[in-house]
């Protein structure tokens, strides 16, 4: 909105710098506070990191395709597998989930934006800053190389204490600082988002949308946000302890000086286990929206789906030491965690059965989103079953730290989270961009990915049980591991091919631009009531909600459980005028300050690498930028 200013008044009131007003054009992406644009920013950036993480995976698989591979030496391999894990978890899956939360949450609850739009933008910029900071390590001392879990005392002592291999203490310290500070900054993004989404869900639902009328996806966003809120501080503390240990020899984890390396494991996994539920619950939410739409039936057992999600959220805090069954906590602790780990399978199993119940008796339309949704149900089941076998502690001592575990978590994270996220991409793409992705190419993507994925990770179950440990840069001939490693590598390249198919689909569909319309899938929830793409203010009139699956009830009148389509017109809620000027809807103004506050953080983080004046200067500059940004944020007027 550009009001024509009275020249006399403009001179007297000119602010320090004018608040931006543009909501279109390339620069608007840097100042946007619109949850939809922020969602797209998250999605594109996360997808880019997913490609990078995927290339790292291909390097790993190329090295392991045959015994005694020579593509990567120990030094590089350890960096690559560490960054593969960090990238996929913190910079691909979490932000892809955030992309969906950002884009869809306000639309699904009938709101115009989130509670704190500038904080939302800040979350994105901080996430980007964290990723760039972590990857800047390539240009300097090299990437973190201690694994994504980075156990003590290795994270303190390093892999080459005598500096004989070019990875001595100085280099090691730098790599650990990239890890520690990079993840700290990323954690801030997640915390800010968590607060934002919780407040939005509690306060900004449309009239009539009680908690038990919210879509399951919104519930999963809600639970995930609480998990983030409580889990990120735990790793935050651990990362501070690591930074202090590495930089100033504070002996938190030093057994020779009163510390305990097992403390790091407890801190890490107390975060790390809720983290895996943070990774999967959004995909569970997505699938819970896709299956009902393409089965033309409601989610089976809505209450159970909600409460099992909440149960998983709570119980997920009680299982962390199942990552530590071989560290020697003793039979009593191991028993307790074996039991909690087994029983968290119960609410998870409930979801699987309820999803099958959703399909049962439906009219199943196998469009691409549906294929990915069913794929998640099938593949996550496999990962869940191998997870239950991990709970059998005496046998877990054979499984732990082997490729059997790698198989398990890739089945749940790739077969589960990634499949669910791609399902969401195909499902909501028309809403976000206004045009359809080609369904045939989508199916090619799905099947290639499904086959490639199973070829990559299925054999890893066997490799693990046949004695192949994790995190080894090479293995000898004569171990009996050659065939399945070869098969696994072939599968990995198939996965890569499927991603190329997806990217081709995006490019060619964009050229064709088949218009989507408001509701191309005959869906059930209110985001499909508005245009594709939605206007900046989401809804011309905020819908009044009278039931779960509100849109479906408007389109189909009820009649003893039989639904009869209502003649055209009822799904259109907004007036004929279009545009928001006539309705007087004021949306939050764009702002530079979220980006500025974010930009100061990596600069300050670089300060920890130096001593004396260098450290002080960098901390001061970074701190000053962030502080300036905070003051600007707080004090900036609205655009008018």
């Amino acid at each position: 909105m550009t009001a024509i200013a009275d020249p006399t008044k403009a001179v007297a009131r000119r602010p320090f710098f004018a608040r931006p007003t543009a909501t279109t054009g390339p620069w608007s992406w840097f100042t946007t506070v619109d949850h939809k644009k922020i969602g797209i920013l998250y999605g594109v950036t996360a997808f880019t990191f997913f490609i990078v993480g995927g290339l790292e995976a291909l390097l790993i698989r190329s090295q392991l395709v045959r015994p005694n591979g020579t593509i990567l030496d120990e030094n590089l391999y350890n960096q690559i597998f560490t960054m593969h894990g960090l990238t996929m978890i913190f910079f691909a899956v979490m932000p892809l989930s955030a992309a969906f939360f950002n884009y869809l949450l306000p639309l699904m609850i009938g709101a115009r934006d989130v509670a704190f739009p500038r904080l939302n933008a800040f979350s994105y910029w901080v996430f980007l800053a964290a990723g760039l900071f972590l990857y800047s390590s390539i240009l300097f001392e090299g990437m973190p190389d201690g694994g994504w879990f980075n156990y003590a005392p290795l994270n303190i002592i390093g892999p080459d204490p005598l500096s004989l291999a070019g990875a001595g203490p100085q280099i090691h310290q730098a790599r650990m600082l990239y890890y520690s500070m990079g993840l700290q900054i990323a954690g801030i993004a997640s915390l800010a988002s968590a607060v934002n989404f919780i407040v939005t869900i509690l306060n900004m639902r449309a009239p009539g949308m009680t908690l038990m009328r919210m879509p399951v996806f919104v519930w999963m966003t809600f639970v995930t946000s609480f998990l983030l809120l409580f889990a990120m501080p735990v790793i935050g503390i651990a990362l501070w302890q690591l930074m202090l240990s590495v930089r100033w020899e504070v002996p938190f984890f030093d057994a020779t000086n009163g510390g305990d390396p097992v403390l790091w494991q407890h801190m890490f996994w107390l975060f790390g286990h809720p983290e895996v539920y943070i990774l999967i619950l959004p995909a569970f939410g997505i699938v819970s929206e896709i299956l009902p739409t393409f089965a033309r039936k409601p989610i089976f057992g809505y209450a159970a789906m909600v409460f099992s999600g909440i149960a998983i959220g709570f119980m997920g805090w009680g299982v962390w030491a199942h990552h530590m069954f071989t560290v020697g906590l003793g039979p009593v602790a191991n028993t307790a965690f074996a039991l909690t780990t087994m029983f968290i399978a119960v609410p998870t199993g409930v979801k699987i059965f309820n999803w099958i119940g959703t399909l049962w008796g439906g009219q199943l339309r196998f469009k691409t989103p549906m294929l990915f949704g069913i794929g998640l149900v099938a593949m996550f089941t496999i990962g869940g079953l191998s997870g239950v076998t991990h709970a059998v502690v005496p046998h877990d001592t054979q499984q732990q730290d082997t490729y059997y575990v790698v198989a398990h978590f890739h089945y749940v994270l790739f077969g589960g989270a990634i499949m669910g996220l791609f399902g969401g991409v195909y499902y909501w793409w028309p809403k976000i961009f206004g045009w359809m992705l080609d369904d045939r190419l989508g199916k090619v993507h799905f099947w290639t990915m499904l086959v490639g994925f199973n070829l990559t990770f299925g054999p890893m179950h066997i490799l693990g049980l046949n004695g192949m440990p994790r995190r080894i840069y090479r293995y000898d001939a004569g171990m009996g591991w050659d065939l399945w490693n070869l098969v696994s590598t072939v599968g990995a390249f198939l996965i890569a091919a499927s991603i190329l198919v997806f990217m081709r689909n995006v490019a060619s569909s964009r050229r064709q631009k088949v218009p989507a319309g408001n509701d191309p899938w005959d869906a059930r929830t209110v985001e499909w009531m508005t245009s594709s793409p939605p206007p900046p203010h989401n809804f011309d009139e905020v819908p009044v909600i009278t039931s779960r699956d509100e849109l479906w009830h408007r389109k189909y009148a009820g009649d003893d459980g039989e639904k009869v389509p209502v003649p055209a017109g009822a799904s259109q809620d907004h007036g004929e005028h279009g545009g928001h000027e006539g309705h007087g809807i004021h949306m939050p103004d764009p702002s530079y300050f979220p980006l500025i506050v974010a930009a100061g953080m990596p600069i300050a983080a670089y300060g920890t690498f130096y001593e004396g004046p260098g450290m002080v200067i960098l901390l001061a500059i970074g701190g000053a930028i962030t502080l300036f940004g905070i003051f600007g944020w707080v004090l900036e007027p609205t655009a008018e």
């Binding site: 120990e74 030094n75 350890n78 694994g147 156990y151 005392p153 290795l154 892999p159 080459d160 005598l162 291999a165 057994a255 390396p261 097992v262 033309r296 039936k297 409601p298 089976f300 809505y302 071989t326 560290v327 020697g328 074996a338 409930v350 059965f353 309820n354 099958i356 399909l359 049962w360 008796g361 009219q363 199943l364 339309r365 196998f366 099938a378 496999i382 079953l385 239950v388 709970a391 059998v392 502690v393 005496p394 046998h395 001592t397 054979q398 730290d401 099947w447 199973n454 054999p459 179950h461 049980l465 046949n466 440990p469 004569g478 009996g480 009820g558 459980g561 039989e562 639904k563 389509p565």
Partner: protein, 354 residues
């Protein structure tokens, strides 16, 4: 579309069968599915219980998906289907039944946890194991009078006798420098236990038959984690006693000019700073590197990674990092290069230490 889910499921079933078929294959030296001793067998029995249950659940779930996908596919009806919101009785059942199955798995699991956590047998052979970047040290604590026999990478044991392993990570309890977490894993004999700085951990292994059982470190420990391997070599009791006797002998005296030259170089290159040769006048009982008193009895070296050939040894001594990047041994011991002839002499001396 109809046949395709069946393909996927059939392929997965094939994978399972292949996986099971690969068990018991002699060409899988670290096969956890082929236990060779009572501890691994007890652990494997739990797998024999839980794996079939998992397979049944797998078949049930995938089967239901396949049936649903075939039976309920859209046939172009104009009305949507019955909008069934749930079925409380079914949902309660599929909450309770899995919980009961899990109880059935939990009971033997817990029993086994406690069974394997007991104290050592009265006649157990006790071995102190210390993990270092990047090799395993073994000390026989109760194998006879005198100082404990100390070896590296190849753990000789008698068959049919419990070997109680103490993974000693407490800095005050050992002269050894304690570094990072490692994990001691010889799959055919037992599941793994971590070596944890600051703590002592225990486990037991036992072999039924004579033979060589391979293992390796299973907790990421840095650059050469992949090359921190070891072997458990099990003997008939009489052969084991004979082996113990050879271990008590001091390092062999050189018997030729070349070997004498090699012995002198060993001292000159400061090898005694890190390595032990029992009985040698220059010996300092150093524990930084593996004991070399009976080096030439070993099948492999450098953490059970390389065959003990002259060529490998020449390369190792001259440039350890070229064979194992993380090796914490400086080239030539002191960094001072040797001529080819001197290197030959030193290697010959090492190869004579049986």
């Amino acid at each position: 579309m109809r046949g395709r889910p069946r393909w996927g499921i059939a392929w997965l079933a094939l994978l399972l069968v292949a996986g099971c078929a690969s068990a018991g294959d002699g060409a899988l030296p670290q096969n956890a599915l082929d236990p060779a001793g009572p501890v691994a067998r007890i652990q494997d029995r739990l797998w024999d219980l839980v794996f079939p249950v998992a397979v049944v659940v797998f078949i049930l779930v995938q089967g239901l998906i396949i049936v649903a996908v075939v039976k309920f596919r859209d046939r172009g009806e104009d009305r949507p289907p019955r909008q069934i919101a749930g079925n409380t009785r079914l949902e309660v059942m599929w909450t309770i039944i899995p919980a009961l199955i899990l109880v059935g798995i939990a009971v033997p699991t817990i029993a086994t946890i406690f069974q394997l956590a007991g104290p050592p047998a009265d006649d157990a052979l006790t071995v102190r194991v210390i993990g270092k970047q990047y090799w395993w040290q073994f000390e026989y604590l109760n194998a006879g009078p005198g100082e404990p026999i100390r070896t590296a990478s190849e753990l000789h044991i008698p068959i049919d006798r419990e070997v109680f392993i103490e993974l000693e990570g407490r800095p005050g309890e050992t002269e050894d420098v304690v570094d990072v977490i490692h994990s001691f894993w010889v799959p055919r004999l037992a599941g793994k236990q971590d070596y944890v700085p600051g703590h002592i951990r225990t486990m037991r292994i036992q072999a039924d038959e004579p033979g060589t059982y391979q293992g390796q470190c299973a907790e990421f420990c840095g650059l050469s984690h992949a090359d921190m391997r070891f072997a458990v070599i099990a003997h008939e009791p009489a052969d084991f006693d004979a082996w113990l006797a050879t271990q008590r002998a001091p390092a062999g005296e050189p018997t030729s000019g070349l070997l004498r030259q090699g012995e002198q170089l060993f001292s000159q290159q400061q090898c005694f700073t890190c390595h032990t040769l029992d009985g040698h006048p220059d010996n300092a009982n150093a524990r930084t590197g593996p004991a070399l008193t009976h080096f030439a009895e070993r099948q492999k070296f450098a953490g059970y990674t390389y065959d003990r050939t002259d060529e490998n040894l020449r390369q190792w001594v001259s440039n350890p990092q070229s064979l194992k990047l993380g090796a914490q041994m400086p080239p030539y011991g002191t960094g001072v290069a040797l001529s080819d002839q001197e290197l030959d002499a030193l290697v010959a001396y090492l190869q004579s230490l049986d």
